[in-house]
Symmetry: C5
Subunit: 321 residues, 5 copies
């Protein structure tokens, strides 16, 4: 689905036009155009690419998923790969957004599941007339900022899962959670893998010499850059914490084993001691005076009890029971 939003500079009018009429307006003075292609089919990519004379390599990248975030300079426009993020059933998913930024136009290709691009386009359409800054740089900023802002709820979600896991692991030593830890770790790696190169993209937008945009826009890009720094910092901290938790978990399990082994083998030693006494009075010697005592049986039981209580006391004393 191709969506074309045109903001004409001379009268400030906003209009949605079919892609075919684009050629007529794009070269007018002060016009800004956002072409947004949702769930692009190969035909749509080819059609839009042809209209703007995009490089075949860039168009290839548009259609291949799982590209690395990057900014490639082409003749007359920049090609940017960026990612939006959604959280489905507590699992973070990254959606690739391909962006072409020219003098007075921006062309985006995005996944329909990533609502944020369409929302940003709608918001721009609604507000552009009343905004101070109609430039393409600010438009790009609006999009990137919306995309990056979408990472924070995903991170919060991860934070919650991490804390639950930590709680469960430290308090209960549950290993059934190993699969969940690995999943969490995979999500963190995924965000790291996306946010790291995106930081480099923003760095180019902020520091490229000569600058790609004016200094007024650069302040805004700097802001997105700061957010990405914060995101990568946070991800690194979660990864660090997670591996501490895993280490603690292993110590915990080993310690629990110690406790269990102490407790159970102490118990079995007590039982064996009592069993030994029973065994002794079960011997068939002809001359065993205790056997004929009137209170031999209670005496034997008492002996067992005394031994058991003593051993119990000793084990408790050395903290084994």
């Amino acid at each position: 689905m191709i969506q074309v939003i045109v903001h004409t500079g001379h009268d400030g009018a906003i209009s949605k036009i079919p892609i075919e009429e684009l050629s007529g307006v794009i070269h007018e003075q002060g016009t800004t155009v956002w072409v947004n292609v949702v769930n692009p089919t190969p035909e749509e990519v080819a059609r839009v690419g042809e209209k703007f004379h995009f490089h075949p390599l860039a168009l290839e990248d548009v259609q291949r998923p799982d590209q690395r975030p990057k900014i490639d300079p082409y003749d007359g426009y920049q090609f940017i790969i960026f990612y939006g993020m959604t959280s489905a059933n507590g699992d973070a998913v990254a959606h690739q957004v391909a962006i072409f930024v020219g003098e007075n136009y921006m062309v985006t290709f995005c996944d329909g599941k990533l609502g944020v691009v369409v929302e940003t386009a709608e918001r721009w359409r609604a507000n552009v007339a009343s905004m101070d800054n109609h430039g393409i740089g600010f438009l790009l900023y609006s999009l990137l900022d919306s995309l990056v802002d979408g990472y924070f709820p995903v991170l919060d979600d991860i934070a919650e899962r991490a804390e639950n896991l930590e709680e469960a692991i430290i308090v209960q030593g549950q290993p059934a959670l190993q699969a969940q830890i690995l999943e969490l770790r995979r999500d963190l790696l995924m965000i790291r893998r996306v946010a790291g190169p995106e930081r480099d993209v923003m760095n180019v937008l902020v520091r490229r010499d000569p600058p790609l945009f004016g200094s007024k826009e650069i302040i805004y890009f700097q802001d997105v850059y700061d957010h990405l720094l914060r995101i990568t910092d946070t991800v690194d901290i979660y990864r660090d914490m997670l591996s501490s938790v895993l280490d603690a978990n292993l110590s915990m399990i080993s310690y629990t084993l110690n406790v269990v082994v102490k407790r159970l083998t102490s118990s079995s030693i007590i039982l064996m001691s009592m069993g030994l006494i029973a065994g002794i009075y079960g011997m068939n010697f002809v001359y065993m005076p205790e056997l004929e005592w009137r209170y031999g049986y209670p005496f034997a039981l008492a002996l067992m009890a005394v031994v058991a209580v003593n051993e119990f006391a000793v084990f408790r004393h050395i903290d084994w029971l």
Copy 2:
């Protein structure tokens, strides 16, 4: 709560004035102004921001907690995010301070729980008349220095907790301390996360070309920079020690298990050997000469004792008991 301290250059007078009267004095030659907003409400932020024409992005950052320490250059002023630290119940807490530094004014927004900002402002008010250096650079230094100096007691506190933990773990192998280790680690990560980017901020203040302040001030900023280096060094060392302690802890626990297993199963083997003898003399064979011996019973008991003592000696010899 908005606090406005004005130091007028021509007569050296210090005065506290309401924010409304600020416009009258700020453009006078030689005047230095510190506006400190404690626990800023959105309205106060807007009001102060309007007075100084601060950029909306910066004002947004003021109100969002958990920003990354940074220094952003704006037209006519620098915007700095820094952190103060307090220690509550042995748990380190970081408080964001937002600082705008212009030609002759400094505006700060801080949390009321962080007493150090108000204290620094009061100290400056009391002493500025008698100081050599009335410049805004020195004022900024005073604030940053006070903030960073506040990290050392927190670090000392962490050092003490780390040593106690190490003591407890190495000597006693207590795993109940795992939660405390993780908390300590989280505190260290938090300080690292704050002090690392702050180092970059100081680096900009010291080395930015062209310099933001005169060379006289830069010596002071260099001093704060050195303190931050020392803090990050220290944090890294504690983290390294902590992970060594965890490793040692795991070895310790495993070793203890070895000792316990040796000791308990040795004991059970002794008991089983004695039980076997009892079992043998409990057999019901018609022809068992020992059973009819006069001293068969004492003989059996003695046999048990001999076996037990021998096994004990062997186990002790090979260091298993």
Copy 3:
């Protein structure tokens, strides 16, 4: 086997000629030559080297396997070591390709098992007449791109093996897989070792100042560079995941031990308790009233059952059975 493909600029004709006739055509205006030597023998290397006056050090490198990917500038040509990859029985194998790139010629030496070089040569021969770009830079790009594209199926293969392993380890804690993990890790290290320096090679092709090729070609090299970045990113993520899986595996095994120890020693304690009762009623005291009870025997069995059931309940309650 030496293969010589000549594309003469003036008439666009493509021809395969024997190496001896090369000298006649190579200096013609607009001619592009690709000499591809498959499974080079020392004699062939010497013969081709002599024809083009290649440096002895480079020719030595051609014949030594296991060179590090690199680009060395020589007088009048560049010498590149690159790698293609094939996957044999689920095991990744890297094949060295030596490339000399001059003004209007490219000479390649490759292993016959690496079909992709010959395929690329054939494709070029078939299509060059109809291509826009006849330059040597584009020819080099075609080759490097084909080589790097060959890494992705190998990576996919590794991904599948990694997931199977993870599944097997997390779900079943199988240690027999350790050998497979190590093999997977070795493959990942191998790809990392090849792709890392290749990235540096591409970086030289893209950023060397003065540039080695025109800006039109650089866009293409940038594309290969991006692919290599993606490959190294992916390899790093797999390595990270793999080590997480190993850690999880260790925790898993330790936890399983805990469970087993709890279960088995709990069982043995129940058995010992029952055995103790049997032992008691096996004692030979003259005065043991229970022995003469009419239902003494069932009573004893019932006692055993009661003890066993109680202990079972206790162990189940504390989650040890």
Copy 4:
């Protein structure tokens, strides 16, 4: 204690003078002065600082222990923090030395326990007249070189302790050594923490542009720089080895546990098998033919022996005993 050594250039005379007379000689042409303050009191620091007009920030640093090694440029002099090292009871201790280096003077503040500073001063006093190089750069070199040379015996000491530990751990698996490992690790961290920034200090002395000293001196500073590189290399290697040793230790302990468990439970199984036979012949069935055999008892004992020997053989065969 303040020590003042003056070398007057015009007659080469060396003299020790009280600090009060310093002002008279310091501005003479060709004079070199070394003021060494041992165990500086606050009053002495203030007095010397005043004489040379040192910056208050630097003087503060002189009195604070535990500063990070650094070189700070001040107007007319350099301020250097460096460390000497001593080894007390096999425990490395670092002593801070504060150094001010001006045009023709060097002022040092040091701990009295660090004999090397006074020794270097005395050696300089004794030899300066006969030396080629009277410059302050060479004087600084003498001091830094002596300080750094003092690290090597400390490192040798650590090497010996590390080897003893490794021996003890690998051969004997002693965990009581954990405390010693941690101490060793702490010493290594301490040296790393001191030597790393000192390397940066030397780097400034060697490479600062414009250079702080002449090229003749720089060769000497380069030498100290090389020593520090060697020290940090060595420390890194010991740390790496130490962590390998710890890992090996853990494997060792786990393996020992395997051996112990195999051996002890094998033994208990043998005992239980024999006990079972005794138990069977202790049953009270009326019709048990073996019980009435003439050699039933020896038969039962022989049966036990056969079972025990067989089990022993099996366990030995599978390497469990």
Copy 5:
């Protein structure tokens, strides 16, 4: 032992002369001199040093073993520390070589155990007359190349030991190999420690601006540089593999413990169950019908067998036996 080889440019004659006659020929046009001192005594070092006016610091370094590889620029010559390697009893040993390179001379000091230096000198003497390149740069290359080529057999040796260890550890879980692993690791660390700084030395030779040698020589140094890169890559990979192997080893040992514990305690539970039955029929109750059954005894044995077989089946089913 001092060896002096002189190649006089005007007649191409090669001669070995005593060190005393060196002064006569060294300043002749086109003469190249290699002075090689094997197992240098302090007197020889002093004598050669005096002849060439080497700096005392460099001469000190010549005599101190265990220097870090480096290249130090002195006035009129370069001073290089490099290492050769030999493999004694499967243990890698590094031998320091000190090299002075001037305009038309090279002076080397080496250990007699390192045959490669003398061999290179002899080869040069034999071939120099027929070589194209008589320059000192090419001479230095010949030496460094020979030294670095000597690392590869050592690495191959290490590779073989590593593979044997891996085989032994993965297949057999032998911990007696821990000492060998540590030794291997120490060898790898040693090579890393030598090859890393040597890479920096080669980097200086290749990239120093202004260049130390002509572009013809730089191609050769680049080759040595590539070899060192390959060596450090390889060492890093072995270290990585080794630590994977250690991790796998630990998992293996833990898993084996699981298996052993399951098997042995399963067995003991079976024995205890049988023993319980024996214990029951060993009780002395007056009314126990089974005791008087004609086939009570076989019944009891059969009962034991049934219980044992059932338990065995259960344990086998859950994979514990």
